[in-house]
């Protein structure tokens, strides 16, 4: 045992950079976790197989790191060569020794007093490329840190926070660029996806998620409504190096609940967009919820899978959407291939053969409040789904919670709340949720594990045949990936608003999850 540990201590010394080629092939080194979702394909799957349904009952915490701030702790760590890199709430970062959890450096930011994050002063993670880490900040900036010391290398404005922008999304390093989105969908921003040169911080391209005058899709907005059309981009996308396409989800159109003031389909809100990685040019888009009035952001990590659909091998992008439906898209063309309802919904009859929802009448927000499923937080939300190539199942943490949607007139002023209405719960019905396993090619439900409350935690599936997830009451748990049977649980003592990851330290498989205000790391 001691010899093994020493060997691992030697391994930590074998520290290299993280060049693009290494990140592109992240799946070939499952001992590390090199992107937000583990690999570019967005699977949040670890091939590590030491922890199994047979031995998971012996899983126990080996170290805990307490964050320096008491906002929701949503980080998904990057792990590279024995060091765990995390973001912290309020745009901080830290490097932790993977063996002991001891900090190696901190980065803490003095934020302006008047930042305007919509929904918590949070951050979901870092990107690594070369010898640098990249962090988006609540004051609308993208910064590069020296991976070895945490010292800032550059700091550039993505978008002015005083106009309602903030950044909580983990950036994605693609080739020599750092791609980031923005938050601000409840403050009438105009959404964007940007790419910056990793070395200099200079902006290389920008894609506006709401097209301006003269651009295709601009006519899907009445009047000047495009100017405050939102379509924020606050969840990390995926990348297909062969197609050279970046896939990124977009948020609700603004104002959220008042669709009267923004007639039309409101492209490219509540959509998945495929962008050329070199130029940011739009290759295709798929809008899940045309003219959304229920705050159903399509800000999900798309899952890229190559698999047969109805007998033909396809390159797929899979999305379990906040609107309650599951979508199978061809990721080269954006063509809709299959869909299915996976969460409780009361707004559509179903999807037509192009994947468009067939609307039920009378589901828009009203002055009196109109109850609809899924509610404002959706059938799922920003937290990551997971796909296991071993089981062919896509796992999604599912919310069952209705909302009474209210519509009001709202006046836009820069940097202020602009939702066009409000929300309330449905009296007498306790919200609930579950972990669901969907057949990736059809969305058919293979199994379901019931939760007491709607979840805010993402999922990790593993080569050992497990699915790790978290509950809003603070239980971190493991399910059998094939059956959904619960096999292990640990009460962390704080609600879980984060995605799990897995890595090797001292040659042993570890599982990490942020819960409450701490990062918990488990091993056998």
């Amino acid at each position: 045992m001691r010899a093994v540990a020493l060997l691992a201590a030697a391994a930590i010394a074998a520290q290299a950079q993280a060049p693009y080629e290494r990140i592109r092939n992240a799946g070939s080194e499952p001992g590390n976790w090199l992107t937000y979702s583990g690999t570019y394909a967005g699977h949040r799957f670890s091939a590590l197989n030491q922890i199994t349904p047979v031995n998971v009952a012996a899983l126990k915490p080996v170290w805990v790191y307490q964050a320096s701030d008491l906002n929701k702790f949503e980080t998904s760590p990057i792990v590279m060569d024995g060091i765990v890199y995390i973001s912290e709430p309020r745009s901080g970062a830290a490097a932790l020794d993977a063996r002991t959890g001891r900090p190696l450096w901190f980065y803490r930011r003095n934020l302006p007093k008047d930042i305007r994050p919509c929904c918590g002063e949070v951050n979901r993670g870092l990107a690594v490329l070369g010898d640098s880490l990249f962090l988006g900040t609540l004051d609308g900036r993208l910064i590069a840190l020296d991976r070895r010391t945490g010292r800032m290398l550059w700091d550039v404005e993505v978008a002015n926070y005083k106009s309602g922008y903030s950044i909580t999304v983990a950036p994605l390093a693609v080739k020599d660029k750092i791609v980031t989105g923005v938050s601000g969908g409840e403050l009438g921003v105009r959404g964007l996806i940007d790419a910056y040169d990793a070395k200099s911080g200079k902006r290389v391209w920008r894609f506006w998620t709401v097209p301006g005058p003269g651009e295709a899709g601009h006519d899907t907005w009445s009047g000047d409504s495009w100017k405050t059309g939102s379509a924020a981009t606050w969840v990390t996308g995926a990348f297909d190096p062969d197609a050279n396409l970046i896939y990124w989800g977009t948020g609700n159109p603004g104002p959220d609940y008042n669709g009267v003031v923004r007639g039309g389909d409101n492209l490219y809100a509540s959509s998945l967009v495929a962008l050329d990685a070199d130029t940011g040019k739009l290759k295709w888009h798929f809008q899940f919820t045309p003219h959304d009035v229920h705050d159903w952001d399509a800000t999900h990590v798309p899952i890229l899978v190559d698999a047969p659909v109805r007998g033909a091998q396809r390159k797929l992008a899979l999305v379990a959407n906040r609107n309650g439906f599951y979508y199978v898209l061809d990721r080269l063309s954006g063509q809709f291939l299959a869909g299915a309802q996976f969460a409780k919904q009361t707004w559509a009859q179903g999807l037509d053969d192009r994947g468009k929802p067939v609307l039920l009448p009378g589901k828009d927000p009203t002055a009196e409040g109109n109850p609809v499923y899924p509610g404002m937080h959706g059938g799922t939300n920003w937290f990551s789904p997971s796909y296991s190539p071993k089981t062919g199942l896509l796992y999604v943490a599912t919310r069952e919670e209705g909302t009474r949607f209210y519509m009001e007139k709202d006046e836009y002023s820069p940097g202020n709340w602009y939702a066009g209405g409000g929300i309330a719960g449905i009296p007498g019905i306790e919200p609930t949720g579950s972990i669901k396993a969907l057949r990736a090619d059809t969305g058919a439900i293979a199994w379901e594990f019931k939760l007491k409350s709607p979840p805010w935690a993402g999922l990790l599936s593993t080569g050992g045949g497990l699915v790790f997830g978290g509950s809003s009451e603070g239980f971190f748990f493991a399910l059998d990936a094939a059956s959904g049977k619960p096999l292990w649980k640990f009460p962390t003592g704080g609600p879980i608003f984060a995605n799990p990851i897995s890595f090797l330290s001292d040659g042993k498989q570890h599982i990490a999850i942020a819960a409450g205000h701490s990062l918990f790391v488990f091993a056998l």
């Binding site: 201590a9 930590i12 063996r99 900090p103 003095n110 010292r151 290398l153």
Partner: protein
Amino acid sequence: MRGLVLLAMLVLAVQPASPMQDSDAGKKLYVAHCAACHGQKGEGGRGARLTALTRAPDNGSLVGIIQKGIPGTEMPPAPLSESEVRDVAVFVRRLQTDSAPQAAAGSARGEQIYRKSGCAQCHAIGPEGGLLGPYLSSIGRRHVPDYLRRALLDPEADIPDSFGQYRWYIEIPDNFLQVRLTAQDGRQVTGARINEDPFSIQMRDANGRVYSFWKEELKELHRDWGKSPMPSYKDKLTAAEIEDLVSYLCSLRDAR
């Protein structure tokens, strides 16, 4: 004591801060709590010089730094009430006399001397250079020429030790303590300590590699207090070259 201070902070926190912030009161507090490291006039010494506030572009951030300290450095959180912190901040603001970096004639020559003398093996400016010794990108803002000259002639004269008072939150020592260890397997590693606790130690060797050991894995662990791996440049450089190098170091004033 800590309880009393916290109680005092609690009581004061619920009262609105006095609109009249007393710089004289701030000066007394500064002399009592800050001057030992930062100098009577903010000229710096062991602590950063305060004539140009690189980390505190506005009053809010200055108050925050005084209240919370700077994690990972010897700057501790001040054991002062909110209104006292504001008084100190008003005084510290008035110390700012350092507008633009002065063009030093020897600076360009000093840069050449920096390059040829191997300084970058252990020190970094920007992303370039070694990590064994202190970072130099903003050294000219933090230290006065006398201090820098002494550091070149007698490197062990001012080694930071992280023994500042009121250091309640022990996080990461930033004192570049040199450690030498021998592992149970016979491996020997020498370098700068990054962090340490009762059960483990993390360090970085001259090549920048990071190591983490449980102490039970070690046969020997030496902490070379008061030692510096930096050689004295007294006999390696001429007095004029030392002055040029000091000029160059004074010109390093990155605001980050």
